[in-house]
Protein backbone atom coordinates (compact mmCIF):
# COMPACT_ATOMS: atom_id res chain seq x y z
CA UNK A 1 0.00 0.00 0.00
CA UNK A 2 2.80 2.38 0.98
CA UNK A 3 4.63 1.53 -2.22
CA UNK A 4 1.49 2.21 -4.23
CA UNK A 5 1.02 5.63 -2.59
CA UNK A 6 4.69 6.41 -3.14
CA UNK A 7 4.40 5.54 -6.84
CA UNK A 8 1.20 7.53 -7.16
CA UNK A 9 2.82 10.53 -5.46
CA UNK A 10 5.86 10.34 -7.71
CA UNK A 11 3.65 10.04 -10.78
CA UNK A 12 1.59 13.05 -9.69
CA UNK A 13 4.71 15.12 -8.97
CA UNK A 14 6.17 14.27 -12.38
CA UNK A 15 2.88 15.13 -14.01
CA UNK A 16 2.64 18.51 -12.28
CA UNK A 17 6.29 19.22 -13.11
CA UNK A 18 5.76 18.40 -16.79
CA UNK A 19 2.55 20.45 -16.95
CA UNK A 20 4.43 23.43 -15.46
CA UNK A 21 7.32 23.02 -17.88
CA UNK A 22 4.87 22.84 -20.78
CA UNK A 23 3.12 26.03 -19.67
CA UNK A 24 6.44 27.88 -19.43
CA UNK A 25 7.38 26.50 -22.86
CA UNK A 26 4.12 27.86 -24.29
CA UNK A 27 4.55 31.29 -22.68
CA UNK A 28 8.13 31.55 -23.88
CA UNK A 29 7.10 30.56 -27.41
CA UNK A 30 4.27 33.10 -27.53
CA UNK A 31 6.40 35.88 -26.03
CA UNK A 32 8.95 35.39 -28.84
CA UNK A 33 6.23 36.28 -31.37
CA UNK A 34 6.67 39.90 -30.23
CA UNK A 35 10.46 39.92 -30.58
CA UNK A 36 12.05 40.62 -33.99
CA UNK A 37 12.75 39.03 -36.44
CA UNK A 38 9.06 38.21 -36.97
CA UNK A 39 9.50 35.25 -39.35
CA UNK A 40 6.36 35.76 -41.46
CA UNK A 41 7.60 33.31 -44.10
CA UNK A 42 8.13 30.58 -41.50
CA UNK A 43 4.59 31.22 -40.23
CA UNK A 44 3.17 30.68 -43.73
CA UNK A 45 5.16 27.44 -44.07
CA UNK A 46 3.75 26.18 -40.78
CA UNK A 47 0.17 27.17 -41.66
CA UNK A 48 0.67 25.06 -44.79
CA UNK A 49 2.04 22.12 -42.77
CA UNK A 50 -0.50 22.22 -39.95
CA UNK A 51 -3.54 23.68 -41.71
CA UNK A 52 -3.53 23.20 -45.46
CA UNK A 53 -2.18 19.65 -45.32
CA UNK A 54 -4.84 18.68 -42.76
CA UNK A 55 -7.70 19.96 -44.95
CA UNK A 56 -8.44 16.72 -46.78
CA UNK A 57 -8.77 14.59 -43.65
CA UNK A 58 -10.90 17.30 -42.01
CA UNK A 59 -13.17 17.46 -45.10
CA UNK A 60 -13.68 13.69 -45.11
CA UNK A 61 -14.31 13.50 -41.36
CA UNK A 62 -16.69 16.46 -41.51
CA UNK A 63 -18.74 15.08 -44.39
CA UNK A 64 -19.24 11.68 -42.76
CA UNK A 65 -19.89 13.18 -39.33
CA UNK A 66 -22.61 15.46 -40.75
CA UNK A 67 -24.11 12.54 -42.66
CA UNK A 68 -24.24 10.21 -39.67
CA UNK A 69 -25.61 12.98 -37.42
CA UNK A 70 -28.44 13.57 -39.92
CA UNK A 71 -29.13 9.86 -40.18
CA UNK A 72 -29.25 9.29 -36.41
CA UNK A 73 -31.08 12.58 -35.83
CA UNK A 74 -33.72 11.86 -38.47
CA UNK A 75 -34.76 8.50 -37.02
CA UNK A 76 -34.77 9.85 -33.46
CA UNK A 77 -36.74 13.01 -34.34
CA UNK A 78 -39.22 11.07 -36.51
CA UNK A 79 -40.41 9.20 -33.39
CA UNK A 80 -41.66 12.55 -32.08
CA UNK A 81 -42.78 13.92 -35.44
CA UNK A 82 -40.07 16.59 -35.31
CA UNK A 83 -38.07 15.92 -38.48
CA UNK A 84 -38.17 19.65 -39.17
CA UNK A 85 -35.74 20.21 -36.30
CA UNK A 86 -33.07 18.13 -38.06
CA UNK A 87 -31.18 21.19 -39.36
CA UNK A 88 -30.85 22.77 -35.94
CA UNK A 89 -29.86 19.44 -34.33
CA UNK A 90 -27.10 18.87 -36.87
CA UNK A 91 -25.87 22.47 -36.77
CA UNK A 92 -25.81 22.79 -32.97
CA UNK A 93 -24.07 19.43 -32.52
CA UNK A 94 -21.44 20.40 -35.06
CA UNK A 95 -20.83 24.01 -34.07
CA UNK A 96 -20.82 23.52 -30.30
CA UNK A 97 -19.19 20.14 -29.99
CA UNK A 98 -18.35 17.84 -32.86
CA UNK A 99 -16.66 20.42 -35.09
CA UNK A 100 -14.04 21.71 -32.63
CA UNK A 101 -13.40 18.32 -31.00
CA UNK A 102 -13.15 16.15 -34.11
CA UNK A 103 -11.10 18.78 -35.97
CA UNK A 104 -8.71 18.92 -33.01
CA UNK A 105 -8.42 15.13 -32.87
CA UNK A 106 -7.72 14.95 -36.61
CA UNK A 107 -5.13 17.74 -36.44
CA UNK A 108 -3.51 16.07 -33.45
CA UNK A 109 -3.27 12.74 -35.27
CA UNK A 110 -1.98 14.22 -38.53
CA UNK A 111 -0.15 17.46 -37.79
CA UNK A 112 0.64 16.98 -34.08
CA UNK A 113 2.52 13.76 -34.70
CA UNK A 114 4.31 15.35 -37.69
CA UNK A 115 5.38 18.35 -35.59
CA UNK A 116 6.79 16.10 -32.84
CA UNK A 117 8.63 13.91 -35.33
CA UNK A 118 10.07 16.93 -37.17
CA UNK A 119 11.33 18.71 -34.03
CA UNK A 120 12.44 15.43 -32.44
CA UNK A 121 14.57 14.58 -35.47
CA UNK A 122 15.99 18.10 -35.40
CA UNK A 123 16.94 17.49 -31.77
CA UNK A 124 18.62 14.10 -32.22
CA UNK A 125 20.48 15.17 -35.38
CA UNK A 126 21.75 18.31 -33.57
CA UNK A 127 19.94 20.71 -35.92
CA UNK A 128 18.52 22.57 -32.90
CA UNK A 129 22.03 22.80 -31.42
CA UNK A 130 23.26 24.06 -34.80
CA UNK A 131 20.70 26.89 -34.68
CA UNK A 132 21.84 27.75 -31.16
CA UNK A 133 25.49 27.87 -32.21
CA UNK A 134 24.56 30.20 -35.10
CA UNK A 135 23.04 32.54 -32.49
CA UNK A 136 19.53 31.78 -33.81
CA UNK A 137 17.04 31.01 -31.04
CA UNK A 138 15.53 27.59 -31.90
CA UNK A 139 12.41 28.40 -29.88
CA UNK A 140 11.83 31.44 -32.07
CA UNK A 141 12.81 29.87 -35.38
CA UNK A 142 11.17 26.46 -34.96
CA UNK A 143 8.52 26.55 -32.19
CA UNK A 144 6.98 30.03 -32.25
CA UNK A 145 5.74 29.87 -35.89
CA UNK A 146 4.17 26.48 -35.18
CA UNK A 147 2.28 27.82 -32.13
CA UNK A 148 0.92 30.77 -34.11
CA UNK A 149 0.04 28.49 -37.02
CA UNK A 150 -1.92 26.27 -34.62
CA UNK A 151 -3.82 29.31 -33.34
CA UNK A 152 -4.70 30.39 -36.88
CA UNK A 153 -5.20 27.07 -38.66
CA UNK A 154 -7.29 25.07 -36.18
CA UNK A 155 -10.17 27.62 -35.91
CA UNK A 156 -10.25 27.90 -39.73
CA UNK A 157 -10.29 24.12 -40.12
CA UNK A 158 -13.07 23.97 -37.53
CA UNK A 159 -15.12 26.46 -39.54
CA UNK A 160 -14.58 24.33 -42.65
CA UNK A 161 -15.59 21.24 -40.65
CA UNK A 162 -18.83 22.90 -39.53
CA UNK A 163 -19.82 24.00 -43.03
CA UNK A 164 -18.98 20.68 -44.67
CA UNK A 165 -20.70 18.75 -41.84
CA UNK A 166 -23.87 20.80 -42.32
CA UNK A 167 -23.74 20.09 -46.06
CA UNK A 168 -23.21 16.36 -45.34
CA UNK A 169 -26.24 16.48 -43.08
CA UNK A 170 -28.17 18.21 -45.88
CA UNK A 171 -27.21 15.47 -48.32
CA UNK A 172 -28.58 12.72 -46.08
CA UNK A 173 -31.45 14.60 -44.40
CA UNK A 174 -32.83 16.54 -47.35
CA UNK A 175 -31.67 14.73 -50.50
CA UNK A 176 -31.89 11.12 -49.29
CA UNK A 177 -34.49 11.16 -46.49
CA UNK A 178 -36.78 13.86 -47.81
CA UNK A 179 -36.73 16.49 -45.07
CA UNK A 180 -37.71 19.86 -46.52
CA UNK A 181 -34.79 22.04 -47.49
CA UNK A 182 -36.51 25.13 -46.06
CA UNK A 183 -37.09 23.62 -42.62
CA UNK A 184 -33.51 22.24 -42.55
CA UNK A 185 -32.00 25.70 -42.96
CA UNK A 186 -34.64 27.81 -41.21
CA UNK A 187 -34.43 25.63 -38.07
CA UNK A 188 -30.70 26.15 -38.14
CA UNK A 189 -30.97 29.93 -38.50
CA UNK A 190 -33.46 30.17 -35.62
CA UNK A 191 -31.62 27.94 -33.16
CA UNK A 192 -27.95 28.82 -33.64
CA UNK A 193 -27.08 31.94 -31.62
CA UNK A 194 -23.77 33.89 -31.53
CA UNK A 195 -22.86 32.28 -28.18
CA UNK A 196 -22.78 28.86 -29.89
CA UNK A 197 -20.41 30.13 -32.56
CA UNK A 198 -18.23 32.00 -30.05
CA UNK A 199 -18.02 28.87 -27.90
CA UNK A 200 -16.86 26.84 -30.90
CA UNK A 201 -14.25 29.45 -31.81
CA UNK A 202 -12.88 29.64 -28.26
CA UNK A 203 -12.71 25.85 -28.08
CA UNK A 204 -10.86 25.59 -31.37
CA UNK A 205 -8.34 28.27 -30.31
CA UNK A 206 -7.63 26.45 -27.04
CA UNK A 207 -7.44 23.06 -28.76
CA UNK A 208 -5.08 24.39 -31.45
CA UNK A 209 -2.73 25.86 -28.89
CA UNK A 210 -2.89 22.74 -26.72
CA UNK A 211 -2.07 20.32 -29.56
CA UNK A 212 0.86 22.31 -30.94
CA UNK A 213 2.26 23.03 -27.47
CA UNK A 214 2.23 19.34 -26.55
CA UNK A 215 3.63 18.33 -29.95
CA UNK A 216 6.42 20.92 -29.93
CA UNK A 217 7.32 20.28 -26.28
CA UNK A 218 7.54 16.52 -26.74
CA UNK A 219 9.69 16.95 -29.86
CA UNK A 220 11.92 19.63 -28.34
CA UNK A 221 12.85 17.48 -25.35
CA UNK A 222 13.22 14.20 -27.23
CA UNK A 223 16.05 11.97 -26.04
CA UNK A 224 17.51 8.58 -26.91
CA UNK A 225 17.58 8.63 -30.70
CA UNK A 226 15.01 7.19 -33.08
CA UNK A 227 13.28 5.23 -30.31
CA UNK A 228 12.86 8.47 -28.37
CA UNK A 229 11.26 10.18 -31.39
CA UNK A 230 8.85 7.27 -31.79
CA UNK A 231 7.93 7.41 -28.09
CA UNK A 232 7.50 11.20 -28.16
CA UNK A 233 5.24 11.00 -31.22
CA UNK A 234 3.10 8.40 -29.54
CA UNK A 235 2.86 10.47 -26.34
CA UNK A 236 1.86 13.54 -28.35
CA UNK A 237 -1.12 11.84 -29.97
CA UNK A 238 -2.36 10.26 -26.73
CA UNK A 239 -1.77 13.28 -24.46
CA UNK A 240 -3.18 15.88 -26.84
CA UNK A 241 -6.32 13.76 -27.43
CA UNK A 242 -6.88 13.42 -23.67
CA UNK A 243 -6.24 17.13 -23.10
CA UNK A 244 -8.60 18.12 -25.91
CA UNK A 245 -11.40 16.08 -24.35
CA UNK A 246 -10.66 17.42 -20.85
CA UNK A 247 -10.59 21.01 -22.12
CA UNK A 248 -13.81 20.33 -24.00
CA UNK A 249 -15.61 19.42 -20.79
CA UNK A 250 -14.22 22.47 -18.93
CA UNK A 251 -15.06 24.93 -21.71
CA UNK A 252 -18.49 23.41 -22.35
CA UNK A 253 -19.36 23.90 -18.67
CA UNK A 254 -18.42 27.58 -19.06
CA UNK A 255 -20.55 28.13 -22.16
CA UNK A 256 -23.66 26.24 -21.02
Amino acid sequence: MVTFIRHLGRWLLNWVQEAGAMLLFLLQGLALAFVPPFRFRRLLQEINLIGVKSTLIVLLTAAFTGMVLALQGYYTLRKYGSEGALGSAVALSLIREMGPVLTALMVSARAGSAVTAEIGIMRITEQLDALDTMAVNPMQYVVMPKLLAGLIAVPLLTAIFDVVGILGGYLVGVVLLGVSSGSYFSGMVQSVVPLDINGGVVKSLVFGLTIITVASFKGYYTEHGAEGVSRATNQTVVLSAVLVLAWDYILTSFFM
Binding site: M122, T125, E126, Q127, D129, A130, T133, M134, A135, V136
Partner: protein, 247 residues
Protein backbone atom coordinates in the same frame (compact mmCIF):
# COMPACT_ATOMS: atom_id res chain seq x y z
CA UNK B 1 43.12 31.91 -26.54
CA UNK B 2 40.60 29.43 -25.15
CA UNK B 3 41.31 28.26 -21.60
CA UNK B 4 39.43 25.53 -19.79
CA UNK B 5 39.97 25.61 -16.05
CA UNK B 6 39.02 22.81 -13.68
CA UNK B 7 35.89 21.78 -15.59
CA UNK B 8 33.56 19.22 -14.01
CA UNK B 9 30.41 17.72 -15.45
CA UNK B 10 28.45 14.65 -14.46
CA UNK B 11 25.27 13.06 -15.80
CA UNK B 12 23.07 11.05 -13.42
CA UNK B 13 25.84 11.00 -10.82
CA UNK B 14 28.46 9.72 -13.27
CA UNK B 15 31.41 12.06 -13.82
CA UNK B 16 32.11 12.64 -17.51
CA UNK B 17 34.48 15.59 -17.18
CA UNK B 18 36.48 15.25 -13.97
CA UNK B 19 38.61 18.38 -13.72
CA UNK B 20 39.65 19.31 -17.26
CA UNK B 21 42.43 21.85 -17.70
CA UNK B 22 43.36 22.73 -21.26
CA UNK B 23 44.60 25.68 -23.32
CA UNK B 24 43.94 26.16 -27.02
CA UNK B 25 46.26 28.79 -28.50
CA UNK B 26 44.86 31.38 -30.90
CA UNK B 27 45.22 30.54 -34.58
CA UNK B 28 46.24 26.93 -33.90
CA UNK B 29 44.48 23.59 -34.33
CA UNK B 30 44.16 21.64 -31.10
CA UNK B 31 42.98 18.06 -31.41
CA UNK B 32 41.40 16.24 -28.46
CA UNK B 33 41.70 12.47 -28.86
CA UNK B 34 40.27 9.69 -26.73
CA UNK B 35 38.10 6.63 -26.92
CA UNK B 36 34.44 6.85 -27.91
CA UNK B 37 32.24 7.94 -25.03
CA UNK B 38 34.94 9.58 -22.89
CA UNK B 39 33.26 12.99 -23.12
CA UNK B 40 35.01 14.69 -26.04
CA UNK B 41 31.74 16.01 -27.49
CA UNK B 42 30.58 17.02 -24.00
CA UNK B 43 33.75 19.08 -23.67
CA UNK B 44 33.10 20.72 -27.04
CA UNK B 45 29.51 21.60 -26.08
CA UNK B 46 30.77 23.36 -22.93
CA UNK B 47 33.03 25.58 -25.01
CA UNK B 48 30.10 26.94 -27.02
CA UNK B 49 27.77 27.11 -24.01
CA UNK B 50 25.38 24.37 -25.12
CA UNK B 51 26.02 22.60 -21.79
CA UNK B 52 26.60 24.13 -18.35
CA UNK B 53 29.32 22.62 -16.16
CA UNK B 54 28.82 21.54 -12.55
CA UNK B 55 31.82 23.77 -11.86
CA UNK B 56 34.83 25.23 -13.62
CA UNK B 57 35.43 27.90 -16.24
CA UNK B 58 35.68 28.16 -20.02
CA UNK B 59 37.51 31.40 -20.82
CA UNK B 60 37.53 32.84 -24.31
CA UNK B 61 39.80 35.90 -24.30
CA UNK B 62 39.13 36.11 -20.54
CA UNK B 63 35.32 36.02 -20.94
CA UNK B 64 33.81 33.12 -19.01
CA UNK B 65 31.33 31.34 -21.31
CA UNK B 66 29.78 29.48 -18.38
CA UNK B 67 28.55 32.78 -16.91
CA UNK B 68 26.99 34.14 -20.11
CA UNK B 69 23.26 34.04 -20.80
CA UNK B 70 20.85 35.29 -23.45
CA UNK B 71 22.03 38.06 -25.74
CA UNK B 72 25.61 38.09 -24.45
CA UNK B 73 25.97 34.38 -25.15
CA UNK B 74 24.47 34.88 -28.62
CA UNK B 75 26.96 37.67 -29.32
CA UNK B 76 29.86 35.45 -28.30
CA UNK B 77 28.55 32.64 -30.49
CA UNK B 78 28.83 34.88 -33.54
CA UNK B 79 32.58 34.37 -33.27
CA UNK B 80 32.11 30.59 -33.50
CA UNK B 81 31.16 27.95 -35.98
CA UNK B 82 30.60 24.28 -35.24
CA UNK B 83 30.90 21.32 -37.57
CA UNK B 84 28.65 18.73 -35.94
CA UNK B 85 29.26 15.00 -36.12
CA UNK B 86 26.41 14.31 -38.56
CA UNK B 87 26.68 17.69 -40.26
CA UNK B 88 23.42 18.95 -38.69
CA UNK B 89 22.26 20.28 -42.05
CA UNK B 90 18.66 21.49 -42.01
CA UNK B 91 16.52 18.83 -43.71
CA UNK B 92 13.96 21.31 -44.98
CA UNK B 93 16.54 23.49 -46.77
CA UNK B 94 18.60 22.66 -49.84
CA UNK B 95 22.38 22.91 -49.90
CA UNK B 96 22.38 26.52 -51.09
CA UNK B 97 19.91 27.58 -48.39
CA UNK B 98 21.84 25.66 -45.72
CA UNK B 99 25.13 27.35 -46.58
CA UNK B 100 23.49 30.76 -46.97
CA UNK B 101 21.56 30.39 -43.70
CA UNK B 102 24.05 32.12 -41.32
CA UNK B 103 24.46 35.05 -43.72
CA UNK B 104 20.71 35.47 -44.22
CA UNK B 105 20.05 35.29 -40.49
CA UNK B 106 22.89 37.40 -39.17
CA UNK B 107 23.91 39.87 -41.90
CA UNK B 108 22.21 42.36 -44.16
CA UNK B 109 24.23 41.44 -47.24
CA UNK B 110 22.46 41.79 -50.60
CA UNK B 111 21.18 38.59 -52.19
CA UNK B 112 23.75 38.74 -55.00
CA UNK B 113 26.64 38.90 -52.53
CA UNK B 114 25.23 35.99 -50.52
CA UNK B 115 24.92 33.93 -53.71
CA UNK B 116 28.50 34.77 -54.69
CA UNK B 117 29.86 33.78 -51.28
CA UNK B 118 27.89 30.52 -51.16
CA UNK B 119 29.16 29.44 -54.59
CA UNK B 120 32.70 30.45 -53.62
CA UNK B 121 32.53 28.24 -50.50
CA UNK B 122 30.99 25.31 -52.37
CA UNK B 123 33.74 25.59 -54.96
CA UNK B 124 36.36 25.67 -52.18
CA UNK B 125 34.91 22.37 -50.91
CA UNK B 126 35.09 20.85 -54.41
CA UNK B 127 31.30 20.73 -54.67
CA UNK B 128 29.79 21.34 -58.12
CA UNK B 129 27.17 24.10 -58.58
CA UNK B 130 24.48 21.44 -59.26
CA UNK B 131 24.85 20.22 -55.66
CA UNK B 132 23.44 23.56 -54.49
CA UNK B 133 19.91 22.49 -55.36
CA UNK B 134 20.04 19.09 -53.66
CA UNK B 135 18.56 18.40 -50.24
CA UNK B 136 20.62 16.83 -47.42
CA UNK B 137 18.97 13.41 -47.80
CA UNK B 138 20.24 13.27 -51.41
CA UNK B 139 23.90 13.70 -50.37
CA UNK B 140 26.55 11.14 -49.47
CA UNK B 141 28.21 11.28 -46.02
CA UNK B 142 31.31 12.99 -47.43
CA UNK B 143 29.27 15.59 -49.29
CA UNK B 144 27.25 16.35 -46.16
CA UNK B 145 30.46 16.95 -44.21
CA UNK B 146 31.79 19.26 -46.94
CA UNK B 147 28.52 21.20 -47.12
CA UNK B 148 28.56 21.52 -43.33
CA UNK B 149 32.15 22.76 -43.51
CA UNK B 150 31.12 25.30 -46.17
CA UNK B 151 28.33 26.48 -43.85
CA UNK B 152 30.73 26.70 -40.92
CA UNK B 153 33.20 28.74 -43.00
CA UNK B 154 30.73 31.11 -44.65
CA UNK B 155 30.85 33.74 -41.91
CA UNK B 156 34.64 33.51 -41.58
CA UNK B 157 34.52 32.71 -37.85
CA UNK B 158 37.43 33.24 -35.48
CA UNK B 159 36.93 29.84 -33.85
CA UNK B 160 35.71 26.57 -35.38
CA UNK B 161 34.85 23.47 -33.36
CA UNK B 162 34.92 20.16 -35.24
CA UNK B 163 33.01 17.30 -33.63
CA UNK B 164 34.29 14.01 -35.08
CA UNK B 165 34.67 15.51 -38.58
CA UNK B 166 35.46 12.23 -40.39
CA UNK B 167 33.46 9.66 -38.41
CA UNK B 168 31.65 7.32 -40.79
CA UNK B 169 33.68 8.33 -43.85
CA UNK B 170 35.89 6.05 -45.92
CA UNK B 171 39.67 6.69 -45.74
CA UNK B 172 39.95 8.70 -49.01
CA UNK B 173 37.05 10.94 -47.96
CA UNK B 174 38.51 11.29 -44.44
CA UNK B 175 41.77 12.49 -46.02
CA UNK B 176 39.81 14.90 -48.22
CA UNK B 177 38.05 16.40 -45.20
CA UNK B 178 41.31 16.72 -43.23
CA UNK B 179 42.92 18.29 -46.30
CA UNK B 180 40.05 20.81 -46.49
CA UNK B 181 40.42 21.62 -42.79
CA UNK B 182 44.13 22.24 -43.33
CA UNK B 183 43.52 24.32 -46.44
CA UNK B 184 40.81 26.51 -44.91
CA UNK B 185 42.91 26.95 -41.77
CA UNK B 186 45.90 28.07 -43.84
CA UNK B 187 43.65 30.53 -45.71
CA UNK B 188 41.78 31.96 -42.71
CA UNK B 189 43.96 31.27 -39.66
CA UNK B 190 41.06 30.45 -37.36
CA UNK B 191 41.47 28.82 -33.95
CA UNK B 192 40.22 25.26 -34.07
CA UNK B 193 39.33 22.47 -31.70
CA UNK B 194 38.93 19.07 -33.32
CA UNK B 195 37.60 16.18 -31.29
CA UNK B 196 38.34 12.88 -32.97
CA UNK B 197 39.55 9.34 -32.48
CA UNK B 198 40.84 8.77 -35.97
CA UNK B 199 44.54 8.00 -35.70
CA UNK B 200 46.99 8.61 -37.19
CA UNK B 201 45.07 10.90 -39.60
CA UNK B 202 44.37 13.59 -36.99
CA UNK B 203 48.11 14.18 -36.60
CA UNK B 204 48.03 15.62 -40.16
CA UNK B 205 46.01 18.61 -39.00
CA UNK B 206 47.05 19.06 -35.36
CA UNK B 207 49.31 21.77 -34.01
CA UNK B 208 48.67 20.40 -30.52
CA UNK B 209 47.12 17.17 -29.31
CA UNK B 210 45.45 16.47 -25.95
CA UNK B 211 44.32 13.05 -24.82
CA UNK B 212 41.15 12.73 -22.75
CA UNK B 213 40.89 9.67 -20.52
CA UNK B 214 38.44 9.02 -17.67
CA UNK B 215 37.35 12.66 -17.63
CA UNK B 216 40.87 14.14 -17.45
CA UNK B 217 43.52 15.34 -19.89
CA UNK B 218 46.34 12.83 -19.40
CA UNK B 219 48.66 14.03 -22.16
CA UNK B 220 49.21 17.29 -24.05
CA UNK B 221 51.82 18.34 -26.60
CA UNK B 222 52.71 18.53 -30.26
CA UNK B 223 51.82 15.51 -32.42
CA UNK B 224 55.45 14.33 -32.21
CA UNK B 225 55.47 14.64 -28.42
CA UNK B 226 52.23 12.69 -28.13
CA UNK B 227 53.46 9.97 -30.47
CA UNK B 228 56.47 9.47 -28.22
CA UNK B 229 54.61 9.96 -24.93
CA UNK B 230 55.65 7.62 -22.11
CA UNK B 231 52.16 6.98 -20.68
CA UNK B 232 51.17 3.39 -21.62
CA UNK B 233 47.51 4.45 -21.97
CA UNK B 234 48.51 6.99 -24.63
CA UNK B 235 50.70 4.47 -26.45
CA UNK B 236 47.99 1.82 -26.21
CA UNK B 237 45.43 4.21 -27.75
CA UNK B 238 47.77 5.40 -30.51
CA UNK B 239 48.66 1.83 -31.44
CA UNK B 240 45.01 0.82 -31.34
CA UNK B 241 45.68 -2.06 -28.99
CA UNK B 242 42.76 -4.24 -28.01
CA UNK B 243 41.65 -3.28 -24.53
CA UNK B 244 39.02 -5.75 -23.36
CA UNK B 245 39.59 -5.30 -19.63
CA UNK B 246 39.61 -1.50 -19.53
CA UNK B 247 36.51 0.05 -17.86
Amino acid sequence: MIRIIDLYKSFNGQAVLDGINLEMPTGKITVVIGKSGVGKSVLLKHIIGLLRPDRGQVLIDDVDVTQLRGRKLQELRRRFAVLFQGGALFDSLNVFENVAFPLKEKTKLPEAEITRRVHERLDQMNLSPEVAFKFPDELSGGMKKRVALARAMIQEPEIILFDEPVTGLDPPMSNTVFHLINKTHDDSGYTALVVAHDLPEVFQVADYVAMLHHGRIIAYGTPEEIQHHQDPKVQSFIKGEVDFLED
